[in-house]
Symmetry: C2
Subunit: 162 residues, 2 copies
């Protein structure tokens, strides 16, 4: 089981966008440059965030991306689902309905116990991600990041910000 690498990029990008002044935008190319990742591929994931309504895109010169909602209203789960998709990790193939001891489909009214157990676990995972917002992450980063990094980042933003 492996989560798409783009999820990490997307969450970090949301955290950066949350730090921007209101109404300011940052192009995908700058976000990619800041994180040291391929610009074209990051753009693909930012498009997914845009489709999900997490960020809004300003087209044209001096355009770029901005958070569509307050950082307190964007959970990590929102970002994960936007990039990685909403399908569950465990897909029940109903193998109990196959083989020599199978019954007609109409006999299986309850979801099988395996599926239920997996669904409970995934629900716990989603709950944990839902309870954490981008604003929470930003707060933690601001508390734990060395001041040197903050000033360095702030200086860089001054140059590229739209």
């Amino acid at each position: 089981m492996r989560l798409s690498e783009g999820v990490e990029w997307a969450v970090h990008c949301c955290a950066i966008l949350a730090l921007l002044p209101p109404e300011a935008t940052l192009p995908a190319a700058r976000l990619a440059e800041y994180h040291g990742v391929p610009p074209a591929y990051l753009a693909k994931h930012l498009q997914a965030l845009s489709r999900a309504g997490i960020v809004t895109a300003e087209p044209g010169a001096k355009g770029g991306y901005r958070l569509a909602k307050p950082a307190t209203a964007v959970s990590v789960l929102d970002v994960v689902r936007a990039v990685d998709g909403a399908e569950p990790a465990f897909r029940c193939m109903e193998i109990r309905q196959r083989g020599p001891a199978a019954l007609p489909t109409s006999e299986y009214r309850q979801a099988c116990a395996v599926t239920k157990a997996m669904a409970r676990a995934e629900a716990a995972w989603r709950d944990a991600l839902r309870s954490e917002t981008i604003a929470d992450l930003v707060a933690v980063v601001g508390r734990e990041t060395p001041p040197a990094a903050v000033t360095k980042a702030a200086a860089w933003f001054q140059e590229v910000l739209h």
Copy 2:
């Protein structure tokens, strides 16, 4: 994010093996036949369960697989980790250490907030799977399965059991 299909097969196989009389074994080919899945591919996953110490394999004629531990001592998490691997779904690539605002590696002592949040969510997922044992699943199945299916399965086992 997608869990290997073999996980579903492996859990179902463990549940079947838990129903067997003590010391009885069932070959991989019969387990595959019962579930209607490719025998060779299922064998691969059963090997993983064997390596993990969840089942033991009896070689030779009249051989097969048997649970290595009581069903109450095998959690669903054990099976998932045996088949799917123990690596976390989210792998932090430390992209914060890249780009124009990066600092020397020695400055990053804390794990980044994104990684921590993801780790918490995965811990919740694992906890949920760890709290469920194969014995629990068997109990639920025995309670919810129609009697017709139980007798049909029992008859089939009588024929193929070693």
